[in-house]
Amino acid sequence: MSGRHRTLAIAAPFAWMLTFFVAPLAIVLKISFSESTAERPPYAPLFEMGTDGGIAFQPSVSAYLLLLSDSLYFYAFLGSLRIAAVSTFVCLLIGLPMAYAIARSRPERRNLLVLLVMLPFWTSFLIRVYAWMALLKPTGILNNVLISLGLVDEPLPLMNNDFAVHLGIVYSYLPFMVLPIYAALEKMDWTLVEAAADLGCRPLRTFFAVTTPLCWHGIAAGSLLVFIPAAGEFVIPDLLGGPDTLMVGRVLWTEFFINRDWPAAAALTIAMLSVLLLPILAFQRMGVDTDRP
């Protein structure tokens, strides 16, 4: 590839990112430093023409101060991170053995299994979450079956609580955990596992001493792919969560659409983004170590 072509190939996605990711983010950043007003749009301009003809720059940190003053935001953050962390861990517990089983299955069967993992994507995400509502609600299929079997007397509270939120997130994001781990395991040299067994290492120990370290980047990528969107998730806690399910996504939505406090919502977004940047940076640093041939 010639130098010009290469520049073009890099420039195209770069322009895309600039237009649809960096520019909106800049707007959000700008709004977060504005003053909230009751006008339309509901925030004061950051730059204002002064009476003397000059342009006045009027940044305000009141939105950020609001975040610090009300513990609701702190607990929303904490709730989001906790639910995301637990869901990620459960996804790992289910996804790692799944990916391992797919990678160790017969080659002609592997593609079918991978296809099955991706199959849910063919249906709308929203529809699948609604389907869970139909399953979990007090008069839902699951409760009806349990009651008709005589296992429970009254419907179990399966929905509108943190359990349902975890369940929904694990269900929705499991493929994002399975696929990167599978991709890492698929390239794995299985004679290394035989070598470990030959040297007296039992299968479970081999899994942790040899297999896991060698697909570590797949595990880290899968965990990030689950953790980050799960932390900012809005639809699942809104549809499956209870009134006490406190997550940033929901608070954000409330600030924006109910309270019409755009600067607060924008500041919340920026804060959330900063928090989520940490694991991404950690992963990148780690990648320098593990990506050696």
Binding site: T191, L192, E194, A195, D198, L199, G200, R202, V210
Partner: protein, 368 residues
């Protein structure tokens, strides 16, 4: 080292490893079809065969990675047929070496020792010992990808030897090395084996390599044992054309056995009206169609006096090989004979007539 040496003294020779009528098929295709073998303690034993001969499957069954369909394997008196690999007193040096890429040379060597209840200092001592044995002490902290092919091979050897197994299996240990290093490494392997006294079982497809290191060789063909014996026995006294040909260049003449004289067999080569005599080793009174095998280097140019075993032909091609010439002689019936002439002996020009002869003991009569 001391453990293996001490046990050598008490056990009787003959049957350290016993393989009894072992067979294994993969989706209906037999890989090993009934092999029985006995390997002695402290031997450097070679499983030799072409690809598809079943030698690797046999090795994997010894290591415990494959369960035989029938038959039994015992090591030092203990039946290990159903024993998982991680419990067997056997270690394997993989053809690809299979070094753990996320561990240093030290870490790789210590891996097996860490699976036992050994103290940290004991592990460190054994690792140092192994590093010294394979001359890798200076590279102890390197990762496998930072090593040369020869260094990786030595690391793999040290890792497999670290637990002082009763048996060390080596899968094509020299295949990945270049020619010069291969010869050096072969000698090193023999020296290390002699020093530690551990029973080595080497799988290889290279006859020269096998003959250069083994105390005994088992030649496998189509999942069955073709012949077993010392390198010289197999080379000089093969029992089939396959074995004769596998171990090196050989002239095979179709012949008819005319009769038996005391101590020798009288035969006539097909298409060639010459009577030949070879020692009657088989002791059988078999007659009929057979093959006479003679190694090219056992033939000499006869001068003057005509011995009993001789044939005349025309030199068609000669290839200089350093210590010798490889010559192709065309017989009157159009067939070719290979003949190796030491360089010190002058050879005739191409197209000139040559008379070849050989001592009676150089010929072997084969029925298969």
């Amino acid at each position: 080292m001391s453990r293996a040496a001490a046990e050598t003294a008490v056990s009787e020779p003959g049957s350290f490893i016993r393989i009894e009528d072992i067979a294994k098929s993969f989706s209906g295709v037999p890989a090993v079809a009934g092999v029985s073998l006995e390997i002695r303690r402290g031997e450097l034993f070679c499983l030799l065969g072409a690809s598809g001969s079943g030698k690797t499957t046999l090795l994997r069954m010894l290591a415990g990675f494959e369960r035989p369909d029938r038959g039994a394997i015992s090591i030092d008196g203990a039946d290990v047929t159903a024993m998982p690999p991680y419990l067997r007193p056997v270690n394997l040096m993989f053809q690809s070496y299979a070094l753990f890429p996320h561990m240093s040379v030290e870490g790789n060597i210590a891996f097996g020792l860490r699976q036992e209840n050994l103290s940290r200092s004991e592990i460190a001592r054994r690792v140092d010992e192994m590093l010294a044995l394979v001359q890798m002490t200076a590279f102890a902290r390197r990762r496998p990808h930072e090593l040369s092919g020869g260094q990786r091979q030595r690391t793999a050897l040290a890792r497999a030897l670290a637990k002082l197994p009763k048996v060390l299996l080596l899968d094509e240990p020299l295949a990945a090395l270049d020619r010069k290093l291969r010869e050096e490494t072969r000698q090193e392997l023999v020296a290390i084996q002699a020093r530690l006294g551990i029973t080595f079982i080497v799988v290889t497809h290279d006859a020269e390599e096998a003959m250069g290191m083994a105390s005994r060789i088992a030649i496998l063909k189509g999942g069955k044992l073709a012949q077993i014996g010392s390198p010289s026995a197999l080379y000089d006294r093969p029992r089939s054309r396959y074995v004769a040909d596998f171990l090196g260049p050989v002239n095979l003449f179709e012949c008819e056995i005319l009769g038996h004289e005391p101590g020798s067999v009288v035969l006539r080569l097909a298409d060639l009206d010459t009577e030949l005599r070879v020692p009657d080793e088989l002791g059988t009174a078999r007659t009929g169609r057979a093959w006479l095998a003679i190694r090219p280097e056992r033939m000499t140019q006869s001068i003057g006096v005509a011995p009993v075993n001789r044939m005349r032909g025309v030199l068609r091609a000669a290839v200089f090989r350093g210590e010798s010439h490889s010559c192709r002689i065309e017989l009157p019936n159009g067939k070719s004979v290979l003949f190796t002439a030491p360089t010190v002996v002058p050879i005739p020009r191409q197209g000139e007539s040559v008379e070849l002869s050989w001592p009676p003991s150089a010929g072997v009569v084969l029925f298969e």
